[in-house]
């Protein structure tokens, strides 16, 4: 009996010890688990510092170079100094679209590029060189006689200035202002002439500001042209651009637009609608990172596999760029040249701005509409863009497309893409059925900005281009499609399922396929619900009859 009690007590003590042990071990495990989870959480949320390291460490200090001590009286003199060491740089650059403004599209066979195409912003370069070429990567392209072989005419500074002080003269055909200049004339806005010696000594790899000097300002105003590129990308936060986030990944343009020998990859003229190469690592690469897939691969949604099921049909941009012009600037969506030419009561041209300071009317240019946080239009897109070229016949009874493209559900190289669509009205020849080129910039009698007479402005530009002009001017509505690919939102701001999978969602008008949530079958729907209602009616009638029969009995 006592032995039994003794062993029972022993057993109890053993059990107690076991329990204590378990508790002790358990709490150790729990503490470890919490610590590990916390460490993982901390690592995941604070990000590792390695990725913030400089992209590029120079091996030369340009302030130590005698050749850069000046004096420089012009841009070409600086270039000559650069080329003393960088002997091949100008030749390399002269082979690129940045220099030639001409692009042969191997798919369509069309010759594109700024010097060849017609658009619905400023319309065409012809006879308007000095203004347009203020964004050329060279000096002095003021007319057709510009020598494209002159190496001194390459502008190194516009891309490599790291002081942020180098600017081009808006009417200087690519030269910087050599003395302080007022622009627009009479506006009181002074553009400071840069100190060329200082700029030359503090050069470096291109920053967002360098590329943006031209690419943010297309269409004559900050953000006007692209919609997904404007000055808010100089120092963006995470919500505006998850990759360029100045406090985070801090990408520059060339992080994705990789270069080789001054040739920059990634062109809208030949957009890569889908990158089937996937992640680019040595030995497996197309030597460019200008696609989401080249870093993220074709199926990057680690934990949400259903999203990966979409990437064979939907471009990354469609969900991850929920709106266009998400920064501080609006973008231009409408430019109506036909409204130009009004004068105020004093007979003077005038401009009108909206409450936010955006020009909505300009006697020289016509009527403008601007929009921020613009919801894109969505279309099937295969990357094959065809332009309506100068001299090409148009159908004025419809909206004339500045560019068209292919794509469809059944084409494996197509994806649904977001587009900024620029619309407007511009002059066309009522007899020849072609889009017309106006001479707008200049101080001469024919310049539209000076005399506001369409006939003489168009006559001069068409004659200059060697094209026929009947004298009969009309205005036709045009549309220009811009595949959108910048200002990538963080994932929490990407579109969600419901944005497209609903009756009137984002993809309401995209044809060629059945989409759950958007599409249904009218006939089946009608039959189904009718049968459901009939069955309910019969059931109710049956109940009523049963109740009636029961009452009769009682």
């Amino acid at each position: 009996m006592s032995r039994q009690r003794g062993s029972a007590a022993k057993f109890d003590r053993g059990l107690m010890r076991l329990r204590l042990n378990l508790i002790r071990r358990g709490s150790l495990w729990a503490v470890t688990l919490v610590a590990v989870l916390w460490a993982g959480y901390a690592a995941a949320t604070t990000g590792d510092p390695v990725r913030r390291g400089p992209e590029w460490t120079p091996t030369a200090d340009h302030t130590k170079f005698r050749v850069l001590e000046g004096p420089f009286s012009s841009g070409p003199e600086v270039t000559r100094a650069c080329l003393r060491c960088h002997t091949e740089a100008a030749k390399q650059l002269q082979a690129t679209t940045h220099w030639t403004w001409s692009f042969d599209n191997p798919i369509t066979g069309q010759t594109l590029g700024k010097r060849n195409i017609i658009n619905n912003f400023c319309v065409s370069i012809e006879t308007n060189w000095p203004r347009c070429t203020s964004c050329h990567i060279g000096f002095g392209w003021s007319d057709n006689s510009f020598d494209h072989r002159s190496e001194d005419s390459v502008d190194c500074l516009v891309c490599h200035d790291n002081t942020g002080t180098y600017v081009k003269d808006p009417l200087g055909a690519g030269h910087p202002p050599y003395r302080d200049t007022e622009f627009p004339p009479g506006s009181g806005n002074i553009i400071q002439a840069p100190d060329l010696i200082d700029v030359a000594r503090y050069i470096g790899m291109p920053t967002r500001r360098n590329c943006g000097a031209c690419h943010f300002n297309g269409g004559e105003a900050d953000g006007a042209k692209h919609g997904d590129l404007d000055s808010s990308l100089i120092k963006p936060d995470r919500s505006l651009d998850v990759h360029m986030d100045a406090a985070g990944l801090n990408f520059v343009c060339s992080t994705c637009h990789t270069t080789q020998g001054h040739a920059v990859t990634g062109s809208r003229y030949m957009t890569k609608a889908v990158d089937t190469v996937g992640i680019d690592v040595p030995g497996h690469t197309d030597r460019t990172r200008t696609s989401c897939e080249s870093c993220h691969g074709p199926t990057p949604h680690a934990t949400r596999h259903k999203l990966d099921d979409h990437t064979d049909k939907v471009a990354c941009q469609t969900c991850h760029i929920p709106e266009i012009a998400r920064g501080s600037r609006k973008t231009l969506t409408w430019w109506d040249w036909s409204a130009a030419g009004q004068r105020d009561t004093d007979g003077q041209p005038f401009t009108r701005t909206d409450d936010d300071g955006y020009v909505i009317y300009d006697s020289h240019r016509g009527e403008f509409r601007w929009q921020g946080n613009l919801v894109p239009e969505y279309h099937w897109f295969d990357g094959r863009i065809r332009y309506t070229l100068i001299g090409e016949a148009i159908d004025e009874s419809k909206i004339v497309p500045i560019n068209t493209f292919g794509g469809g559900y059944d084409e494996p190289r197509s994806r649904i893409w977001p587009f900024k669509v620029m619309r407007g009205r511009q002059p066309y020849d009522k007899v020849h059925k072609t889009l017309l080129l106006p001479h707008t910039v200049g101080d001469d009698y024919a310049s539209y900005f000076r005399n506001m007479d369409w006939t003489s402005a168009i006559e001069v530009a068409m004659a200059h281009a060697g094209l026929p002009f009947s004298g009969e001017i009309g205005f036709v509505e045009t549309a220009y499609f811009w595949p959108s690919t910048h200002m990538v939102a963080p994932k929490e701001d990407a579109l969600a399922c419901n944005d497209c999978h609903s009756r009137n969602g984002r993809l309401a008008g995209v044809p060629g396929f059945y989409m759950p949530g958007r599409d249904s079958f009218e006939g089946l729907q009608w039959t189904g619900w009718t049968l459901v209602i009939l069955t309910l009616v019969v059931s109710v009638a049956h109940i009523a009859a049963r109740i009636g029969a029961a009452r009769q009995r009682s």
Binding site: Y514, G517, F521, Q525, T527, R553
Partner: protein, 197 residues
């Protein structure tokens, strides 16, 4: 009068679990189809998936149980007393002196109309929903197994049609559950398992 066990514990568990899952599947499914807006497409679709897998799991259990216990024989259709049942629902039920033509036993708990309806449910409606539902889920893998001759709209059409059939079954089934004497007798049996015969 005798109290007999008509529905075993597993049969009751399977029935009510299936009922809940089917109701939830219909709610989420018809929302995906655009009939109404409750959870939003995303959550409706997510839940529809989870519910579908749960129901398939339940079915796997039920099939095994049915095979082992021999319960599957309860669903074999018969024409005996079939017309009598039809007559009862359209005439006899309104007259107190007409008795229910079918006397259930533990071995044969379904009347001939029930056998027919449940056969339809088990052999046609549900398998069609399974087949098209699984195709729907694995839409992206069609080319890998040579199924890309199908179209999503075709699969969706059949799935939706079968869903309507399910809804019709559901309404009729629920209504007929209240045709016992007293009216809640069948429901009570389905809950407790026992029925007084």
């Amino acid at each position: 009068m005798a109290r007999i066990l008509v529905f075993t514990r597993f049969a009751r568990f399977a029935h009510w679990t299936q009922a809940l899952l089917v109701i939830a599947l219909m709610v989420t499914g018809f929302e995906i189809n655009g009939a109404f807006s409750l959870l939003g497409y995303e959550r409706a679709a997510e839940w529809h998936d989870v519910l579908a897998w749960s129901l398939m799991g339940l079915w796997a259990l039920a099939i095994i149980w049915s095979l082992i216990t021999g319960d599957w024989k309860q669903y074999l259709p018969t024409t005996r007393k079939l017309m009598a049942m039809v007559r009862y629902y359209t005439y006899g039920i309104f007259h107190a002196d007409v008795p229910h033509p079918y006397r259930r036993t533990a071995q044969a708990r379904h009347n001939p109309l029930q056998r027919l309806a449940y056969m339809l449910f088990h052999a046609l409606i549900t398998p069609t929903l399974w087949a098209t539902g699984l195709l729907y889920m694995f839409y992206n893998d069609w080319p890998k197994v040579g199924l890309d001759v199908l179209t999503l709209s075709g699969v969706a059409l059949v799935h939706t049609a079968a869903a309507f059939a399910m809804l019709l079954f559901f309404i009729i089934h629920v209504y007929l559950a209240f045709t016992g004497t007293p009216v809640t007798a069948f429901l009570k049996a389905m809950i407790t398992g026992y029925e007084d015969i």
